[in-house]
């Protein structure tokens, strides 16, 4: 179970939060003309990054605020949480532990099927 720092309430147990999937996905404005494909990308497709991932959480059993989070999905380490309007941190601010698209980090992977 993760421990997550809500930018409003501080460090709390994961059981107080709900995950909201990828962050920084812009909803297409309803007034603009977009193709079926573009719209379907918004509705159904989210990045499924292995490594540094921008995602959203909501403090559902707390202040009920949505906020953003940078987490390494290859180790589950939470690198940063920030308010929804804060600027998105840069990818290069974080160390990428995965050298190949589906590689395993040296430490922290649960996947021992791959011998280093």
């Amino acid at each position: 179970m993760l421990i997550i720092e809500c930018p409003y309430c501080g460090l709390r147990d994961q059981s107080e939060f709900s995950n909201g999937g990828e962050a920084h996905v812009k909803r297409p404005d309803g007034s603009s003309e977009i193709s079926d494909r573009e719209w379907s990308e918004y509705v159904f497709i989210r990045s499924n990054t292995k490594g540094i991932f921008y995602e959203r959480w909501v403090h559902s059993h707390g202040c009920r605020k949505w906020f953003n989070c940078v987490r390494d999905t290859s180790t589950d380490e939470i690198l940063k949480t920030y308010k929804i309007y804060d600027t998105r941190p840069k990818l290069k601010d974080f160390k990428n532990l995965v050298d190949t698209p589906s590689g395993e980090p040296e430490l922290g992977s649960g996947n021992f099927t791959v011998k280093k």
């Binding site: 179970m1 421990i3 079926d36 719209w39 379907s40 509705v43 009920r64």
Partner: protein, 992 residues
Amino acid sequence: MKELKTNSSPFVNFNQKISFLFDGKKIFGFKGDTIASALLRNNINLVGRSFKYHRPRGIYTCGIEEPNALVQIISEYSEPNTRATIKKIYEGMEVESQNRWPSLDNDIGSINSLFSPLFSAGFYYKTFMGPHKSFWKRIYEPIIRRAAGLGKPPKEFRALSSHLHHNVDIVIVGAGLNGLLAAKSLINNNHDILLLDFDNHLGGIINNSAKISSIDNQSPQEWVKSTVEAIEKSKNIKILKNTLVTTYNYINHLIAVEDKHVGSRPSENKVNNILHKIRTDHVILCNGHIERFLSFQNNDLPGIMLASSFEKYICRYGTLPSKEPVIFSNNSNSNSLIYSIINQGYKPKAYIDSRSGENIEPELFDLIRKHDIPLYTNSQIKGVSGGKRIEKILIEDSTGGLSEIHSDFLCVSGGINPDVHLFTQSKGLLDWDEKDLTYKPSKPFQPTITLGSASGQFNLEKVSDEINEKLKIFKNKVLDTKIVLNTKESYQIEKLWEISPHKSSIWSKSFIDLQNDVTTKDIRQAISEGFDRIEHLKRYTTNSMGTDQGKISSINALGIVSDLLDKKVNEVGTTIYRPPYAPLSFAAIAGRNSYEFYDPERKSPIHQWHKDNGAIFEDVGQWKRPWYFPLNSSESMHDAVQRESKNVREFAGVIDGSTLGKIEIKGKDALSFMNLIYTNSFSKMKPGSARYALMLGEDGMVKDDGIISKISEEHFIATTTTGGAATVLGCMEEYAQTEWPNLNVYMNSITEQFATFNISGPKTREIMNKVFPEIDFSNDAFPFMTFQFHNYHGMQIRILRASFTGEMGYEIYIPSKNAAKIWGQLHSYGKDFGLIPYGTETMHLLRAEKGYILIGQDTDGSITPIDLGLNWTIGKTKQDFLGKRSLTRTDTIRTDRKQLVGIIPSNKEDQLTEGQHIILNQTIKIPIPMLGHITSSYQSPTLGHSFGLAVIKDGHSLIGKKAFASTPDQKTIPIEIVKPVFYDEENKRLVS
């Protein structure tokens, strides 16, 4: 009774004799004994039968690593697979051996041994396929499945377990020499510390062997006593005994289970165990090491035991399993066993060491010579033989010469491993140590420190140096502990994994996994078949997949494989231990969160009234809702619903709608926000009016519905379905915060704050006039789909003219605490007008007659508003709302989508059944294309026949056509497809 074997032990009370039953026979032991130590006192060593071959098995170890001595505790709800080596006895305990029939001594299953050459690795995969397919299901499979399992299933048991949460700075796992020293160095330090030990007597190696002579000039026992006292007195360290850390999760989250009834019968009404859930910044693992066994012919016979376990029985339990065992070792760790036996006034019958003479410690040589113990160096045990216990041991000496010793006891040591189970659970990395021939912790993934033998530091004289170095980060007190040893030893080992038998037959066996009956032959065969990855090997042979997870043997398997493949061990693979460390009780995991605390029951503020008036309840999510109100015990649900429905249509009825979700939306931009959330446009609506509205997912599918009341441009109240309340609020909050943060709007759930009563039927207005005489309920003053706030005896209530039954009706919103009063008033005034309470089933029937949909019943996440014929809910001029764009995708604009229609049976006496499908053919030839299914159907008391709603392909254009409905017994009923409204299509009654 035979005299019990005793000598001194600080942990066993020899004055308190205890009797218990083993396989129905009365056995005596002492307070403090485990089942195993008590059995050994009585010279009982045969305690079970093995999994596959039903071979006789004895007590192999003295701890949690035990692979063989698993027993059933009859007196504790028949708990199966309990380790006899850790379970303490109490008066009247009942224990049974496992996996034997009819008895442990005469087990029919042992016939399997005869066929053992067949039962090699992969046996099942390669056989049981002929002569015909049906043999598998009818003959082979039942036989295989009957042979499953070790213990018998337990008895019904309602757990009494608690969960306890801890938040600390440091957890020290294990209170042996290292754990106690580490804790001692941190006494009154700035950190909150938990010190956990599985034992009820702290001290670990100090209690378990005679290795240590003195600590800081005190006897080891005195030192433990004074150190534990000092720790207990400290402000910052809490000790939990009898507590086993089973799981080391991510973010230093530990799970530990505490046994609250060690050595006593579990109480029926007291907590039996506690599951500790611990969050900590640092973990210090001082959980020691585990000794390995060795593979040789018949190395599973009763009478064989790990060397350190034998010593533990002496030092800890004051019993000597045998007065003259033979000892076989490849390392220096077993030196202290010889010392311990001699200390008791006996001596080993022989000492066999695979190491050459020059590698053996001079002190050990001296001791062996002094006591004239037969010594075999550079020698090996080629195998042992015997029936239900070992009898003879075959030794190959340094010259290759063979000799045989008669002995009924053999102590074996194949070296020691740091207990890395928890460390690997924490995802730390291990490294193979070529000198000590074992895996040792190298890189931790989390803030984990390992100390002593848990870290692979086997030298007892160096423990304080290691602690001083590794605990510096905590600014601990520097230790200068002086440890004097009885047996000078710095750990030294020579490689030895397996000794090949002198004479091999297809029946001969050297075990590598005792519990799962895996032999070294199985390993060889698996390798030759190409299962050379260690996980493949494990899965193919089931090696180390028993309840002990191969604690004493999995490294040996790696060693054997590395030799076979001519690779280094760390190239072969590491052992991956999966949590938990030792089997963890389901009851403890469930804790108090089951039975009456499984899930909260949500109840309406007038729940008690419903109960008092005989309501039958239905679970709707967490809510308890009245389903129907039978007149008496003999009225069936069908009769009650028919009566209730008729009554509403003829007179009036009221349903408790308090479970409906209610959300209040406020803010300068509330109107724009609501226009974005719902399909409808609320812009032209007058304050004080209300509208039925739909909410879609972004995929365009109907997600929820409700009535939106507009109080002002900046203030709305939305109702939601009972099940959808939380989701709808969550969705509103998400969009308000993440997509349209520029909108000034906020929302709150008021579901619990207000009760809702929906009263409807032709007599409703008369009843309302009686209950609220000051309010004008005339059509002009209070038109359909408008609402008004009123003051009723000092409280504000809201009345909404709306109906879900098709009859004219009102919804009354009352603060919950006063709800019972108004409910009472409605009934006392309403009685004369025929008012009755009704439940959800009648509500469903009435709304279906009227063609109103029920979200989740008539919709299933694949239905758009257009499919439902609810195009009018869509604000045509709105630029955007949730899911709008999805309504014009190629699949959603198809005109032949599944659409909502009504159906009636062509023969009025036929009954339609929900869930049945609509087809075009009268006779069913499978597979048959289906148009769709009946989503709702009821017997209508008003129509006098069955009717239904259905979603069917191209439904809207099929209206007026005939089709068939399937029945549960695969017959068909002719039906007519009609408009989905069966009652008052012109809404005359609604607005009357």
